[in-house]
């Protein structure tokens, strides 16, 4: 009880008529994923929920949103009344909405239909399309979104789709929104816009629970912070002005003083591993891009979402076609038309969408490793299960993957999956490795491990390209940073020149 009172400290009883959780826990079989959580969210405030993957954030969110139910012994009150949702509909009815990390919208329906799906407005026995469009449009305007409610959701950007989700919750008169990793797919500018909307809604008395890995964001928008670790509430702060170092220590239970390893700069005369000259995309997604990477160098690519970074990297790796321009590897011009061409030139891509493009989730680590490396595990085309297993184990050990060769890729955590993706490409002994969003959706502790891997690759003389929407990551790892905006390279900054302000200046130019 103490915790709740101290959380509510300095506030009158009426101000705290938001959501209060008492002793919330959740056990699945033998596994306790959440225990003894006490927290309060007051009207019009934003509470940040921090923790590594598996800390219990999602479970807690789903209990509040009625998707799962708390173990007996826990209770919640909402707006002064007992609150025990048995289904998401109960939570929505009470005015609590959960905005998922992955959009749950129907792409072929209009914004208005998506907003009212499952509760279409009726008028005289027929669907009241005009009424739905009108009411959806009001919410879109409230969010400052300049689109027509009759537009199909599939044609919207990810950022706009997310705002449709928020609009949907608002038409249900939501008074508390749970945002689960809302900025994962957003660039800096879209993030700023989301934060403006959050501020506006807070002023109207809407409360938020904000789940995120991005500590810099928390400092900008949170009123208070709750930190979970291994299902237990380990810290709460009445202010968001807590040092990143302290929050990271609380989340991981150990000190991560230096998240980014120091990567020695390559010698001045290091040979150029990859040179890209005047590359154009057939669809104009990138234009006239030129850059070089030296052996042992880490080249970062920054830019807002939609700047064409992923498209550029896919084209270089032969996944998508290029319209014109040349690619040179170790001084020799090469024609890369298919992924196999790139692999033969020992240029590999670790793609941005790990689950869709990186690994086959329902297959084993060993099989996943083999798919990229048949020439090594199956000389003359004959596979030997023992050889495949030994091959996978070798790389599992080298990269410290927590798993065995016969474990399914889908059973691994995000960080370990990413290590498997990197491992299967390392086996090709690449000269150039492109990592697109290498730590997307990966928790803090596991990120450091991925950074160590990147440093180790560069140390062996590999040319490394890191594309990331996380500015700290690009600045922390790269020797030089190329900034893309609207498909064009706006400038290349050295590590000394590159600070967040200068990068953003170029990125939004």
């Amino acid at each position: 009880m103490n915790t709740v009172e101290s959380l509510a400290e300095g506030r009158s009883e009426s101000a705290s008529a938001g959501l209060v959780l008492r002793n919330i826990g959740k056990t699945y079989g033998m596994t306790t994923v959440l225990s003894g959580v006490n927290m309060a969210v007051h009207t019009g405030e934003l509470v940040a929920l921090l923790g590594e993957n598996g800390a219990g954030k999602s479970t807690l969110s789903s209990i509040i949103a009625g998707i799962n139910q708390s173990d007996p012994g826990g209770s919640m009150t909402w707006q002064g009344k007992p609150y025990a949702p048995q289904a998401p509909a109960d939570a929505l009815h009470a005015g609590i909405g959960l905005i998922h990390q992955e959009m749950r919208l129907l792409p072929e329906l209009t914004i208005a239909e998506n907003v009212f799906v499952g509760r279409l407005l009726m008028k005289g026995g027929r669907i009241d399309m005009a009424g739905m469009v009108e009411r959806a449009q009001v919410q879109l305007r409230r969010l400052g979104l300049e689109v027509s409610a009759t537009q199909k959701v599939g044609t919207l950007s990810v950022a706009a789709q997310q705002q449709v989700e928020i609009a949907k919750a608002l038409t249900l008169n939501a008074r508390l929104l749970i945002l689960d990793e809302p900025t994962t797919a957003l660039g800096e500018r879209e993030t700023d816009r989301l934060f403006e909307q959050i501020h506006r809604l807070k002023a109207q008395g809407v409360s938020f629970i904000y789940v995120s890995h991005r500590l810099a964001e928390i400092a900008r928008i949170a009123d208070r912070i709750v930190v979970l670790r291994d299902g237990v509430q380990v810290a709460f702060h009445d202010t968001a002005q807590i040092s990143t170092g302290q929050l990271v220590r609380e989340m991981v239970g150990r000190s991560v003083d230096r998240l980014f390893p120091s990567i020695p700069a390559p010698p001045e005369n290091a040979p150029v591993a990859l040179a890209v000259r005047h590359l154009h995309a057939p669809n104009g997604r990138f234009k006239d891009v030129s850059f070089e990477v030296r052996e042992g160098e880490v080249l970062g690519f920054a830019g807002i979402v939609g700047a064409g970074r992923t498209e550029l990297m896919r084209a270089i790796a032969g996944v998508d076609p290029i319209a014109s321009g040349t690619i040179e590897i170790r001084g020799k011009q090469v024609a890369i038309r298919t992924p196999m061409d790139a692999i033969r030139e020992r240029l590999v891509l670790v793609p941005d969408d790990r689950k869709a493009l990186g690994v086959v989730l329902p297959h084993s680590i060993g099989d996943n490793m083999a798919y990229n490396n048949f020439d090594q595990v199956a000389p003359k085309g004959w596979l030997d299960p023992a050889r495949t297993a030994a091959f996978a184990e070798k790389f599992i050990e080298r990269l410290g993957v927590k798993g065995r060769h016969n474990h399914l890729a889908g059973s691994l955590s995000g960080g370990n999956q990413q290590k498997v993706v990197i491992a299967k490409w390392l086996a090709r002994d690449p000269k150039v490795i492109i990592l697109d969003e290498p730590t997307r959706g990966i928790d803090v502790g596991a990120r450091a491990a991925i950074y160590e891997v990147i440093a180790a690759l560069a140390a062996t003389g590999m040319a490394v390209i890191v594309v990331s929407s996380d500015l700290d990551e690009v600045l922390g790892l790269a020797h030089r940073v190329v900034v893309l905006a609207r498909g064009e390279a706006r400038g290349t900054l050295t590590r000394e020149e590159a600070d967040p302000a200068r990068v953003m200046e170029l990125a939004v130019s």
């Binding site: 992924p339 692999i343 493009l357 989730l361």
Partner: protein, 337 residues
């Protein structure tokens, strides 16, 4: 509080170190489910041996084998198609077209039978290639592409003789399914066994066979890994078509004739065999061994129900029920285990 933290942390680590899907499955129920197709086939055989005095005889078991060669040969190709995440609805019609082409060339045009057999295989492969091209280049869904091929091939099969059958082949040709060498092995059964072994080895131990699982698991992951997804897809559908053509030849030897209505509805039996054997229509899962279990289950079931005098209508109901049971057990593996 500190104790709670430690306890829950430990539980979590334990869970993480034995993830779902690891080979270590101590639970007996899980074992039972894993060998579901084998166990149910065994139970079926034992039950039929008790219920009838004719089922468990050398003669009858040879009959079962003879009867399932056509289905079995087609199911091999279908396994590869389903493993890459596709489906081929045209195999029954391709079988009919191939055997009509063979019969027409032999009995109307007068081409030597050996060449006619080759032509039947080529016809099947061509149909498969056509379906493949519709999928890889016209970007039709496999279901639609092969539905079209199914209709076209059935029509062509009927057009050749305006719907009438072609009867009477050389003695050596029909002997392939009748004469039992070493007292038990007909040429067609031997062919089926050899093809099954080759297919099983290919799917399990050849890199190009394993690549099919990568494509079915995720075509984009496979493409990024440098696997030529389109070429492989074309090859798989061509092979499936060719095996359907071969099944047509086998059916002709068994019937000593070519029927334009032959193989009607066989595509569904073939798909059922793969699915009973654990193949997943979402791709990336399925084995030749499993398919063999599926083929045997359907073959034994048909034979047994005939011996018991069950009407063909009831047989359809029974086979439908078996499909439901097999797939329900397979897709609920996690929950049951």
């Amino acid at each position: 509080m500190a104790t709670t933290t430690n306890a829950s942390a430990n539980t979590r680590t334990d869970v993480a170190s034995t993830p779902e899907g690891a080979v270590k499955r101590p639970h007996w129920a899980r074992k039972l489910v894993d060998y579901g197709p084998e166990i149910s086939l065994l139970v079926l055989c034992v039950a039929l041996s008790i219920l009838t005095d004719t089922f468990f005889s050398f003669r009858n078991l040879l009959n079962v084998l003879d009867q399932l060669t056509v289905l079995g040969i087609m199911a091999l190709g279908m396994t590869a198609v389903i493993v890459i995440g596709g489906i081929d609805l045209s195999v029954g019609s391709v079988l009919a077209l191939s055997m009509m082409v063979m019969g027409w060339l032999s009995n109307v045009v007068g081409v030597p039978m050996q060449l006619c057999i080759v032509a039947a295989l080529a016809m099947g492969a061509l149909c498969g290639l056509g379906s493949g091209l519709l999928i890889t280049h016209a970007r039709l869904p496999a279901f639609i592409a092969t539905l079209a091929t199914m209709s076209i091939c059935r029509g062509l099969a009927n057009m050749i003789t305006d719907g009438s059958q072609i009867v009477g082949y050389a003695d050596w040709f029909s002997a392939m399914s009748i004469r039992r060498h070493f007292g038990f092995l007909s040429v067609t059964v031997a062919l089926f066994i050899v093809l099954t072994v080759i297919a099983a080895i290919f799917m399990k131990y050849r890199a190009s066979g394993r690549a099919l699982y990568a494509i079915g698991g995720s075509a984009e992951v496979a493409r990024l890994a440098g696997i030529p997804v389109r070429k492989v897809t074309l090859a798989v559908y061509s092979m499936c078509g060719m095996l359907a053509g071969l099944a047509g030849v086998v059916m002709s030897t068994r019937l000593d004739s070519s029927q334009p209505t032959g193989g009607m509805g066989y595509e569904l039996d073939t798909i059922a065999a793969v699915v009973i054997g654990g193949g997943s229509l979402s791709g990336g899962v399925g084995t030749i061994w499993g398919t063999l279990m599926g083929v045997l289950t359907i073959g034994v079931l048909r034979n047994g129900l005939n011996l018991l005098g069950v009407s063909p209508f009831v047989q359809q109901v029974v086979i439908g029920t078996v499909i439901v049971l097999a797939v329900a057990v397979d897709s609920n593996k996690r929950r049951i285990g």
